[in-house]
Amino acid sequence: MDLVAQLFVDGVINGSHYALVGLGFGLIFGPTRITHFAFGPLYALAAYACWTAAVPLNLPLPVAAAVGVAAGAVSGVVTYRVLYRPFERRQSASLVVLIASLGLFIVLENAIGVVFGSDTKVVARFNADVILWGDVVFTSVQAWQVAALVVIGTLLALFLRYSDYGKAIVAMTDNPEMARIVGIDTVRLTTLVFALGSAIAAVPAVLILLKEGATPYMGFSAVFMGFVAVIVGGIGSLRGAVIGGLALGLVENLGAWQIPTEWQSTIAFVVLFLVLLLKPRGLFGRGAR
C-alpha cells in the first residue's frame, strides 16, 4: 500500500509537470493551431538561460529563475515574429509551418548542444529539502512543481475568464476567422499567447533544471508530452490539457507498479491511442464538427 501511495504522489508530481507544459503548449496551439515543435528547444533554452544566470554569472536563484522565464517569453515572441509570421502572412499551408517549426527544432536543439555541450548542466549549490509525509517521500522541488501548476493554472483561468485579452484568446480559440471579423487583432493576440505560453513553459523547465539538470535534448519530451496532454485532453480546452497531463503522469507512475521501468516511457502513448480510439476528440474536446 505504501508503494502505491508513493507511486500515486510521484504520479501527481510528474503529472503536474506535464500539465504545466501542456498548459503552455495548449495556450499557443489552441488559438493559433500552429504545431509549434520549436516549443521544445525554447523550453530547453529557458532552462539554459536560468543555468547561465545561476552558475557562470552566480546570480541569486530567484533572479536566475526570472531570467529563465523572461528568456522563454522573449524567445517565444521572437520565434513567432521571425519564423511563423512570414508564413502566416503568405497564408502558407499548415503543413509548411509545421515543417518549418521542425526545422527550427533541430537547429535550436543542436545549437544548444554546440554552445553548451551535451553534458548535463546542474546548479550544484542548490540542494532540495527532503520532505517526509508518513511513508511517502518527496523533495521541495517536487512540491514546487505541484504548487506551480496550482498557482499558474488558477491565474491563467482567472485571466482568461475576466480580462479582455483573456476573453479574446478564448474567442480566437473557438473560431479564429470569427475573431478576426469582429475586429480582434489576431497578430497582437498571437504574440501575446506566444509570450505567455513560452513563459509558462519556462517555469517547469527551470524546475526540471533544479531537479535533474538540463540537457540539450530535454525539449523533445516537453513538446511531445505537452502535445499529447493537449490531444488527450481535447484541443482547445486548457482544463483538458491539465487533466490530460495529470492523467499521463499518474498512468506512467502507477504503471510502474506492474510494468518494468524500461517500458514506462511508452505507457503514455498507449493512453494516447486508447483515448483516440474511445474519445476521438479528447476528454474535453469541443464536440463534433
Partner: protein, 561 residues
C-alpha cells in the same frame, strides 16, 4: 571506388525512402513523423527472420513490408478518422514506441547490441556482398519503387487524391471515401519505406535501433522538401544531394560530436530557408498541360439511365431536428422529394436551409428525426455512402477543385470507378484504361449538356463565375445520383444566364431526378419549382405551389421584414 559505390547504394535506398515520404506529404497532403520507424520495422523484421529463422531473400523482406503496412494502417486509422493534427502526434508516438521496442525487447531484437550477421542477398548464385555487386540491384529496386509510385500518381486514384487534397468536403460530396484514400496512401508509403529497410538490413548486415530515430525522419524530410513536394523526381534529387553532401562535409575537420550537430543544424536551416525562399523546392511542380480535348463521335447520353418522372417519393425526411449549442437550427422538419419534381427551399438567412441539406446528405447527424432514400433509412450513413446510394448535394460556396481541369472536376465525380482502387490500377491496368476512355466520353457529354464542352481542358480556376456555376451542376450530375440538392445554384447570376440554366435543371427533372434547390430569388422559384417550402427559424411554415406561397402577405412580411 568501393566508397563511391557505397554512397550510390545509400543514395538508392534513401531515394526509395524519400519517394515514400513524398507520396505522403506532397501527393496526399498528409504529414506523419514515422517514416524512420517504418524503415526500421522493415529492417528489423528482415533481420530477425533472416537470422533466427534462416529464411532466404525475399521472404523476410516481404514479411517486413506486410507487417509494416499493417502496422501503419492500425496506427493511422483512428487518427485519420479525426483528421488534422492527430496524425502528427500519433505517428510521433509510434516512432518513439518503435525505437523503445527495438531497444527493450532484448530476446528478439538484441537490445542495444542490435542484430549482426544478417546474411547477404544471393541472386542466381551470386552473393551481393560488395557495394559493386549490390548497386545494380539497389538501383533496380529503386527504379521499380519510383515506377510504382509514379503509376499511382498518374492513375484515376490520383485524381481522387488531388480532389481530396483540394477540398475534403467536396471530395466526400462526390462520393469519395476520404478516410480509405488516406489509409491506402499511408499503407503504401509505409510499405515502400519497409522495402528500403529490408534492403538496408541485407546490405549493411547489421541493424541497431539508433539508426531509426526521429533524426532519420527529419533527414529524409529535408530531402523531400529540398527536392520539392510537387513531383517524385525532386525527391530523387533531394536524396542524391543530401546523401552526398554529408560525405563531403566529412572532409572538414571537426570533432565528431560537433560535426554531427553542425550537420543537423545545416539540415534545419536548409528546411527553413527552402520553405521561405523557394517553397516548391528545387524541382517545382510540373504544370498541368492545357489538354486539348477531342470528342470522338457522339458521346453517351449525359444523364445515364433515366427514370419515369412520375412523382414517386424518393426521399423522405421526418421530424428532422438539429441544434448547435443552444440554438435550434432545424426543428421538426418534414420534407419529401419526388421523382421528376423540383422543390424550392426558401426562407430568410439563418432559416436552416443549408442545415437541412447537411442533415439529408449525412454531413450532419440529426439530433432527432430520420431520412429514408427509396424507403431505406440513411441513419448513420456517411456522406460518400449517401452519394453512392443516390443522393448528392452541391455547396453554396461551390467548392470546386479549382486547380484541376474542368474535365477532371467532372470525371472525379463519376460513380463506381475501378480506377479509384489502387489494386485495379496495378493488377488490371487495361480495365482501368478502358474505363477511363468511357468515363472521359461520359464526362464530356455531361459538359456538353451544361454547355461547358469547350472549356473541358481549362483549369477550373480560370472559369468565369457563371461557368463555375455550370461546372457545379455538371459535377453534381456526374455523380449519377437520382436525388440532386442544389444549394443556391443560381445566386448572383445575370437574368440572361438564368434563362440558360433553367432548361438544364428542368431537363434533369424530366429525366426522373428528384430535385431540391435552395434559392432566394422568387422569380427562380416561380419559374422552376413545382412546390416551394418556406422555412423560418428552422421550422417549415408553409409548403404550397410557388404562386400561392409568394402571394401570401404574411410570408412576404417575414421574408422581407
Amino acid at each position: 571506388m568501393g566508397y563511391l559505390l557505397h554512397i550510390l547504394v545509400m543514395v538508392s535506398l534513401y531515394a526509395i525512402l524519400a519517394v515514400s515520404f513524398n507520396l505522403l506529404i506532397g501527393f496526399a497532403g498528409l504529414f506523419a513523423l514515422s517514416q524512420a520507424a517504418f524503415f526500421g520495422v522493415g529492417a528489423y523484421t528482415t533481420a530477425i527472420l533472416a537470422t533466427k529463422l534462416d529464411l532466404a531473400f525475399p521472404l523476410p523482406l516481404l514479411a517486413g513490408v506486410l507487417l509494416t503496412a499493417g502496422l501503419g494502417i492500425l496506427v493511422a486509422l483512428p487518427a485519420l478518422r479525426i483528421g488534422g493534427d492527430h496524425l502528427v502526434v500519433v505517428t510521433l508516438a509510434l516512432q518513439i514506441i518503435a525505437v523503445a521496442v527495438m531497444v527493450n525487447w532484448r530476446s528478439v531484437t538484441g537490445g542495444t547490441d542490435g542484430i549482426a550477421g544478417i546474411p547477404k542477398i544471393v541472386l542466381w548464385g551470386t552473393a551481393l556482398d560488395s557495394p559493386a555487386r549490390f548497386l545494380p540491384f539497389a538501383l533496380a529496386v529503386a527504379a521499380a519503387s519510383v515506377a510504382l509510385a509514379w503509376r499511382l500518381a498518374a492513375s484515376p486514384f490520383a485524381r481522387a487524391v488531388r480532389a481530396m487534397r483540394e477540398n475534403e468536403l467536396a471530395a466526400q460530396a462526390v462520393g469519395k471515401n476520404v478516410v480509405a484514400i488516406k489509409l491506402a496512401v499511408f499503407a503504401f508509403s509505409a510499405a515502400l519505406a519497409a522495402v528500403a529497410g529490408g534492403l538496408y538490413a541485407h546490405y549493411i548486415g547489421f541493424v541497431s535501433a539508433e539508426t531509426f530515430t526521429l533524426d532519420l525522419t527529419i533527414y529524409v524530410l529535408a530531402m523531400v522538401i529540398l527536392g520539392g513536394t510537387g513531383n517524385l523526381w525532386g525527391s530523387l534529387l533531394g536524396a542524391l544531394i543530401l546523401t552526398a553532401l554529408p560525405e563531403l562535409l566529412k572532409f572538414v575537420a571537426l570533432a565528431p560530436d560537433i560535426a554531427d550537430k553542425s550537420r543537423q543544424i545545416l539540415y534545419g536551416l536548409a528546411l527553413i530557408a527552402i520553405l521561405l525562399l523557394r517553397p516548391q523546392g528545387l524541382v517545382g511542380e510540373i504544370p498541368t498541360r492545357r489538354r486539348r480535348v477531342v470528342v470522338e463521335g457522339h458521346g453517351p447520353a449525359p444523364l445515364g439511365a433515366t427514370a419515369p418522372a412520375d412523382g414517386t417519393v424518393v426521399v423522405e425526411g421526418r421530424g428532422l431536428m438539429r441544434r448547435f449549442g443552444g440554438i435550434v437550427a432545424v426543428s421538426g422538419l418534414d420534407i419529401e422529394l419526388r421523382r421528376g419534381r423540383i422543390v424550392g427551399l426558401i426562407g430568410p438567412n439563418g432559416a436552416g436551409k443549408t442545415t437541412a441539406f447537411n442533415l439529408l446528405t449525412g454531413f450532419l447527424r440529426p439530433d432527432a428525426g430520420s431520412v429514408t432514400l427509396n424507403g431505406v433509412p440513411l441513419a448513420g450513413a456517411r456522406p460518400h455512402q449517401i452519394v453512392r446510394r443516390g443522393m448528392a448535394r452541391s455547396f453554396q460556396d461551390l467548392k470546386l477543385f479549382s486547380r484541376m481541369t474542368v474535365l477532371d472536376n467532372v470525371m472525379v465525380a463519376l460513380p463506381r470507378q475501378k480506377g479509384d482502387n489502387p489494386l485495379y490500377v496495378y493488377l488490371a491496368p487495361w480495365v482501368v484504361a478502358a474505363e477511363e476512355r468511357a468515363n472521359r466520353q461520359r464526362a464530356l457529354a455531361i459538359l456538353d449538356f451544361v454547355g461547358l464542352g469547350e472549356r473541358a481542358g481549362d483549369t477550373a480556376e480560370n472559369l468565369s463565375y457563371a461557368e463555375e456555376k455550370l461546372l457545379v451542376i455538371a459535377r453534381l450530375v456526374a455523380t449519377g445520383a437520382e436525388v440532386l440538392l442544389f444549394d443556391e445554384p443560381l445566386s448572383g447570376l445575370a437574368p440572361n444566364t438564368l434563362e440558360a440554366i433553367f432548361p438544364i435543371i428542368r431537363r434533369l427533372a424530366e429525366s426522373g431526378k428528384a430535385i431540391c434547390i435552395i434559392e432566394h430569388n422568387l422569380d427562380v422559384i416561380r419559374g422552376l419549382c413545382h412546390t416551394a417550402v418556406f422555412l423560418d427559424e428552422g421550422r417549415k411554415l408553409v409548403e404550397d405551389a410557388p404562386e400561392k406561397l409568394i402571394a401570401d402577405p404574411a410570408l412576404a412580411a417575414r421574408y422581407f421584414g
